[in-house]
């Protein structure tokens, strides 16, 4: 009876992260790598794990303003991630285009193409902010499971 909700609660303690670089300047990616790798921030505490294949992912971190050239690849990749998934947009680029805002090569805001659940603004955002965003995403994920 109460077993399935219990299991769902347990399941949310194991969010696997996947990073998509949608044309970012790499600043946000460095920040995400920092979040993962530097002992001080350690996302593994939350049970997170960066995974190599989109098919293993639960929480997607998207950085960058979605350039015209990567759009198809990003959308295809996004479809490869099995449900239930949660999307976190990292940096100000996916929100508005950031410093690339008026470029002809950029399709931001990204939520015209991909449903975004959590925005983490900043250029680049601090690791603490990214972790807070991931924690928020875990809450949303719990409802979707």
């Amino acid at each position: 009876m109460g077993l399935i909700p219990d299991f769902k609660k347990i399941a949310t303690r194991s969010p696997w992260l996947y990073r998509i670089n949608a044309g970012s300047c790499n600043g946000c990616d460095v920040e995400m790598a920092t979040t993962a790798l530097i002992p001080r921030y350690d996302v593994e505490r939350l049970g997170c794990q960066y995974c190599g294949s989109p098919k293993h992912a639960d929480i997607v971190l998207i950085s960058g303003p979605l350039t015209v050239r990567v759009k198809d690849a990003v959308l295809r990749m996004f479809d490869e991630i099995p449900e239930p998934k949660v999307t976190v947009a990292v940096g100000v680029c996916p929100i508005s285009g950031g410093i690339f805002r008026e470029s002809y090569a950029v399709l931001a805001p990204i939520d015209q193409y991909i449903p975004i659940d959590v925005n983490v603004p900043g250029c680049p955002p601090r690791p603490q902010a990214i972790i807070a965003g991931v924690a928020k995403a875990i809450e949303i994920w719990r409802e979707r499971l």
Binding site: F7, K8, I10, A11, T12, R13, S14, P15, W16, P39, D42, E44, R45, G47, Q49, C51, G52, S53, K55, H56, D58, E80, P82, E83, P84, L145
Partner: protein, 319 residues
């Protein structure tokens, strides 16, 4: 009949099945925790691998369009079943002795090859180019490490067999009984090359960092298991967890099976040995080395472990 029921229970409950799975996942949890501590991080909770498996149960399994669906979905099952059976073959001194019908070193060697083959088939059935690269790397690595393993097993079997007045014995129970009366092979200088070769073998067999080439996540995105998601991916995690128990248990049985006579003591000592073997051979090695290239690993295995294994066989036969 009671014989068959005992084997079935051994495969499903103890020491295969539930026990091996729980132990494998717990070892993985300890491994991740200790690794985090060594890097001065906090690390995940000890139960993390259990959470991961439960989580994967809630996800959707996707079958890629290019994949052969039947093969894609059922190969991981073969791997899990083979490992559960293998776990029932591993003796635990003074706690569990495998039935004479199955407790044979050669059977165990064959079963140990299956996960590698399963990974190869899974990688090629998924239709992904990364899976295909994983396939070829897994195959190369298997060719490299299977040879030393067979020679190590032969060295142990011949040493035991000659000690017992015959030629070679592959019965795991005999190997343990012999070491109980004559002292562990770990302290037998004649066996040291074999011990050293085994120390090289087991990180490769378990896919730990210097040798995790087929599944290198930064180059081939987890290789053979790239296309798996949800419950089928959980099967792979289960397979590798149980495999860890089997391989470490094999190492304990071959070289250092001594334990107190009592049931609880025997189990406790076995668990401690397993944890030590894992922390030294897996956690520390994993953290302190970088990944080799496949050609480097291949040459490495054909050089050192093979040489050591051949040497150990020669020494055992001559002495």
């Amino acid at each position: 009949m009671s014989n068959q029921i005992a084997i079935l229970l051994a495969v499903l409950l103890f020491p295969g099945g539930v026990f091996a799975l729980a132990l494998g996942l717990a070892l993985k949890g300890v491994d991740r925790r200790v690794a985090a501590r060594l890097q001065s991080r906090v690390g995940p909770p000890l139960m993390q691998p259990f959470f991961d498996i439960i989580k994967l149960g809630f996800k959707r399994t996707m079958v890629p369009a290019a994949a052969n669906e039947t093969v894609f979905l059922y190969t991981p099952l073969v791997g899990v079943v083979s490992m559960l059976i293998a776990a029932a073959l591993v003796p635990i001194t003074s706690v569990y002795a495998p039935d004479a019908a199955i407790g044979n070193l050669l059977v165990l060697l064959y079963l140990l090859m299956i996960p590698g083959i399963v990974l190869m088939i899974a990688g090629s059935a998924s239709g992904s180019p990364y899976g295909a690269i994983g396939f070829s790397r897994e195959m190369a690595l298997m060719i490299a490490y299977e040879g030393p393993l067979v020679l190590i097993a032969a060295a142990v079997a011949i040493r035991t067999g000659m000690g017992m007045g015959g030629w070679a014995t592959f019965s795991l129970n005999d190997i343990i009984a012999y070491q109980q009366t004559h002292g562990a092979f770990l302290f037998d200088p004649v066996m040291w090359p074999a011990v050293a070769a085994f120390c090289f073998f087991y990180p490769a067999n378990l896919g730990i960092v210097p040798f995790d080439i087929p599944e290198a996540e930064t180059e081939v995105l987890e290789g053979p298991i790239i296309e798996y998601s949800g419950p089928t991916l959980a099967l792979f995690k289960v397979m590798s967890a149980v495999k860890k128990v089997v391989v470490l248990g094999l190492g304990i049985a071959l070289f250092f099976p001594l334990a107190p006579e009592s049931l609880v003591g025997g189990l406790l000592v076995w668990l401690i040995k397993m944890a030590v073997l894992m922390l030294i051979g897996i956690t520390v090695v994993r953290l302190s080395t970088g990944r080799m290239r496949i050609d480097q690993a291949f040459v490495f295995f054909l050089k050192w472990p093979l040489l050591l294994a051949v040497a150990s066989l020669a020494v055992v036969v001559v002495v």
